[in-house]
Every structure is written in C-alpha cells, then in structure tokens.
C-alpha cells in the first residue's frame, strides 16, 4: 500500500509580508522609548517598544465617545479594513462600520495589536533593538494584564482619559474584564463576549496541545526558525486545526460537513483528505500559517493560560469588581463549549454580588465559540442596544 501523506504545504507566499508587518506594520504606530518602559508582570521592563493600532471614526470634542476593541488570540488590529497580508476583509466588519452596532459615524473606535502579537506591536516576531535579530524566545513572557497595561499607555498617548466602552470576544473578552478590574474608573461600559475570567484545565490542555505541536516540528529550531530559513508550518498548521475544532460545535460540523466526501464517491483507502471536514481543516491550517507567527502563537496561548482575575483577590471573583460603577453586558452562546455559558454566569454572579449593573444574554446558535465573529442578528441587536443605552446614560450626543 502506498501511503500518500498530504502534509500542510509550506507557505511560499506571504512569509515576507508577514515578517515585514511585524516591524513595519500597515497601521498607525505608537512608539515608546527607553524612558517609557512597559512594566511586565514577569518583572522585566520592556523598553523600547511599539504598539500598532487602527482607528475608525472621529473622537468627539470632549473625548467621550472612544471605544476600545480588544482582539482575540489569532486576530489583530485590522477590525474593519482589508488585512494587509491576506487581503481579506476586517474580522469584525459585521459589527464595526457605518450604521453597524459599533457605528463609526458615532464612536471613535480603536483596536491595538496586543503586545506579544505579530502584526506590528512588539513581540517575538519583532526585531530586538539590542541585538538586531528577532526576539524569538528571548522575548519576555507576557500576560493579559501586560496587554491591557500597554493599551492604557496607548490611550494616555492619544489623550483619552476614559473609554466609553471596551469590547472584546474570547481573549478580547478576557482583556475587557481585565480592563474593568485594573482600571475601573477609566471604563464607562464593558461588553464581554464568549469569554471567562480564567482558563479551565481543559482550555489549558488544548493550548498545550497546540504549543507541543509547534515545538515538536523539527523546523521550529528552538524558536530560531527565521534565522535558519525554515518555518514550523506543519506544527503550527496542526495546532491551528486542533484549535479550530474547539471554535466550532459538533452540530455545526455535522451540518456543514457530516460524513460527506470531498469530490469523490468512494474512499481512496489512503490518508488523503477523503472527507470534506478533513479538507476544510487542512485549509484552515495552511491559511493560518501564512499570516501568523509560530512563536507569537506560543506566547499568546500562554498568556491566556496564565490569566486569572480572581487570583489577585484570594480566589473571590466578586472582590475584583467591588464598588465598580462600570455598566456591563455579558454575552455567551449556547453551543460554545470552549467558553460555555456557565463561565458567563460566574462573571454575572460576581458582578451581582458587587451590585454592579449588568445585562446578561445567552444567544441561541449552533455555531460554537466562533459565533461572536459571524452574522448573528441577535448579538448585533444586543450590542447596539447596550451601547445605545450606555450612550444615553453618558449623555453622548447622537451623531451621524
């Protein structure tokens, strides 16, 4: 029997563009010199560093209409514009745009690439000014609080004292919660979607699976792949395939693919992608490695694993939100088994215990964790209404 193993093809295109974006992003850029270090939780001061960000809309006269979007693990600051590497539309164009729930005719929207990312903010794919080489694994370990601290420094630079709202899903939702815990007076309202206040053992397990896949790829070269002219595309591709399954649901996979074959009626009795779902996953893997840096994936998954808001409050989550005046909206999706509704309920209970003002809605969908990125009308309605009522409470003038 001939074993015809179709591995994930090496990304011939885009590697150069991606590497270029890490240092010279197609975005606005805020640079911070040695006199303005980012104080990291691990004890190291990162200086100099830079933050790449995008903005949409106009800041109003009293700086009261700024919304910060926090992006998820493998996303970036290109929320509502064409992605400079892939050419695809912005990842939240369904939610952000003229007349959308995050209406760029009413609000000033900012999204920054997280520290540790690979689309222009300082991270393992950036050049280390001290050595002239890429940081690689010399980059210090970063945490979600570090990401938020950097975002706060960016807002200081932009002259924005208080955010009208901070919005995010998944890892972005974790940042939203961290914002309210760390800077409660700087956040008027918060929309936390499909997230939790800490990773469960299962969440950590899945991330570890992905990291091990990357590190087991012989082309990873201990993180020095760029210098050695290789790229751990197989390992990273497999990591992405595993992660992508966690972003979907059993029902949705069955609905989209079932046991249907790809372009054939009989099995080939080989390890080719006979099933449509196999072909789909291989495509997800290969398209991912074109746009994302392997080391960055290691660092950011680690940051999510370390995140635990209640840890600083002796395990009592309600203490993190004591006396908070921020208006909250927490959203979860029924088929999301990565961050299930029970996690959202824990957040809601903690907020109730602190007498914070919270709305909580669980949205019925079979599209799993990824639902927050997709066209889910109920989610848009709720986001729009929440922002509208927060706007009324803040006295925002209706524009547009």
């Amino acid at each position: 029997m001939v074993v015809n193993v179709q591995s994930i093809p090496s990304p011939a295109i885009h590697t150069e563009e991606r590497a270029h974006e890490a240092d010279h992003p197609s975005s606005l850029l805020a640079t911070f010199g040695v006199d303005q270090p980012l104080r990291l939780d691990c004890g190291i001061d990162l200086a100099p560093f830079q933050i790449a960000y995008q903005t949409y809309g106009e800041l109003n006269a009293d700086c009261s209409n700024a919304i910060l979007i926090c992006h998820a693990l493998t996303l970036d600051q290109h929320v509502a514009n064409v992605h400079p590497v892939t050419g695809k539309p912005g990842w939240w164009e369904t939610l952000v745009g003229p007349g959308r729930p995050l209406d760029i005719d009413r609000y000033f929207i900012i999204c920054a690439n997280v520290i540790g990312g690979c689309m222009g903010s300082t991270g393992p794919a950036s050049t280390n000014p001290a050595t002239g080489k890429l940081w690689g694994l010399d980059f210090p370990m970063i945490t979600i609080p570090d990401m938020v601290r950097a975002q706060a420094m960016l807002l200081d630079r932009l002259g924005i004292d208080t955010l009208f709202c901070v919005v995010g899903g998944s890892m972005g939702g974790m940042q939203v919660l961290q914002w309210t815990a760390a800077y409660p007076k700087r956040v008027f309202s918060a929309l936390a979607v499909a997230c939790s206040t800490r990773h469960t053992a299962q969440n950590i397990a899945f991330h570890e699976l992905g990291r091990q896949a990357v590190m087991a790829d012989p082309d990873w070269r201990g993180g020095r792949y760029f210098e050695e002219g290789t790229h751990p595309h197989r390992g990273l591709g497999v990591a992405r395939m595993a992660a992508h399954i966690t972003y979907l649901s059993d029902a949705a996979l069955h609905r989209k693919f079932g046991r249907r074959m790809q372009d054939r009626e009989l099995p080939t009795f080989s390890f080719d992608a006979d099933f449509q779902v196999e072909s789909y996953l291989r495509y997800q893997g290969s398209s991912f490695v074109e746009r994302f840096d392997a080391n960055s994936y290691l660092y950011l998954t680690r940051a999510m694993d370390y995140f635990d808001i209640a840890a600083d409050h002796k395990g009592v989550l309600a203490e993190a939100f004591r006396d908070i005046k921020t208006r909250f909206c927490v959203v979860s999706f029924t088929s999301d088994w990565l961050f299930p509704t029970s996690e959202a309920r824990a957040i809601v209970h903690a907020l109730n215990a602190s007498s914070a003002r919270v709305s909580f809605a669980e949205i019925e969908t079979d599209r799993g964790h990824d639902a927050f990125l997709l066209d889910v009308p109920e989610f848009f309605e709720i986001s729009r209404a929440f922002l509208h009522s927060a706007g009324v409470a803040r006295g925002l003038k209706t524009g547009g």
Partner: protein, 195 residues
C-alpha cells in the same frame, strides 16, 4: 405596584418578562435590575438597554448578596416557581422589602368553575389549560397570608385587585378579599427588625 416604590430606590424585578415594569420604574428615576427565565424575554430586555440577566428564581436568587436591594418584586410569578417558600425567603434576604403579586385561586369565579363546572378554572387572567400552564403552585390570598405568618414575614400593605388591576377600594374583612379579589398584591418586610 410602581406606586409603592420611592424615587431613588434600588429594585430587582424577578421574572421581569419583557421589561415593561422596569422601563416604567426607570422613567420614574428608579434604578431597576431584572432576572428573567426565558431567553427571548431576556434578549428583548437587554435590547431595550435594561440591566437584565437570564436566570431562574428557584436557583439563582441564592447568588445575590443580603440587602442588595431596597425592593424585590415578584410579579405574577410566585405560582410558577418550584419552591415558593424558598423563593419568598430569598426575596426578603436580598431586599429590605418585597412586593409580591399573584392570582388568587380563591376568587369566586375560580371557585364557581370548580364547584359547578367541575373543571380546572380558566379565566381571562388565567387562560391556560391545566396541561399547558406554567402555574404549578396556585394559592389563595388566605393561603398566602398563612405562609407569611409561618416564615415570619410582616405584611405592611395588602391590596386585592380586580381583573384590570384596579384595587378594590372597600373596607372589608379578609374573607371578602379572598372571595372578590382576582389578584393579591402584598408589600412585605422582615418581621422582628426595628428600623
């Protein structure tokens, strides 16, 4: 019901439906929050900008801290809870006062349908059939008063309402309310605490 609540109070509406009462309270300067069981109800409330969370009166009230609210409202929901006594106890732990309204099973029309018709009553206020109703714990005004006595709850005000929610304005003994009030509305507080 809204008239019983002072301006500036903090209120929790348990079983808030589509948020009509909360909107009314908000228009009167009252900080209202809500819990609602049905997902559609919650989403409609949140779409109206209300601070409403999805939850079950039987299981989720325990997550609220003591004295979190000035008033906790349970409107036309008591008879649909699985453990009415526990729910009432929780209401008066979470709120300094509770306002509870419920359909009075002792209403003369209900009695007549059972006595003469021999079937489970159906009225304009309670139109559901016996096999299709969420109402599993009916009581009369007399039953409710008795329960309040058992759990050491003080009745500050009691009003019997007709079908259209208008109070029966008569000075009359309890048996009268039990017979002619279609709904009961009670303002409750914890007994034995001096203010």
């Amino acid at each position: 019901m809204a008239k019983m609540i002072e301006h500036g109070s903090k209120v929790l509406d348990v079983g808030c439906g589509e948020g009509d009462l909360l909107l009314l309270l908000e228009s009167r300067g009252i900080d209202g929050r809500g819990i609602e069981l049905s997902r559609e109800g919650v989403n409609r409330c949140v779409s109206k900008g209300l601070a409403v969370v999805q939850g079950d009166a039987d299981t989720d009230l325990v997550n609220y801290p003591d004295d979190a609210f000035d008033y906790v409202i349970l409107s036309q929901t008591l008879q649909a809870t699985r453990q009415p006594r526990v729910v009432l106890e929780n209401l008066l732990r979470i709120g300094r006062r509770a306002i509870v309204s419920f359909p009075n099973f002792g209403f003369w029309k209900m009695r007549l349908q059972l006595l003469v018709g021999g079937h489970m009553p159906r009225t304009e206020n309670l139109p559901a059939t016996w096999y299709d109703t969420p109402n599993i714990h009916f009581c009369t005004i007399k039953d409710f008063v008795q329960l309040c006595g058992e759990i050491n709850v003080k009745m500050e005000r009691a009003v019997a309402l007709d079908l259209y929610g208008r109070p029966l304005r008569l000075n009359a003994p309890w048996w009268f309310w039990n017979m002619f009030g279609e709904q009961g509305v009670f303002l409750l507080s914890r007994a034995g605490k001096t203010r």
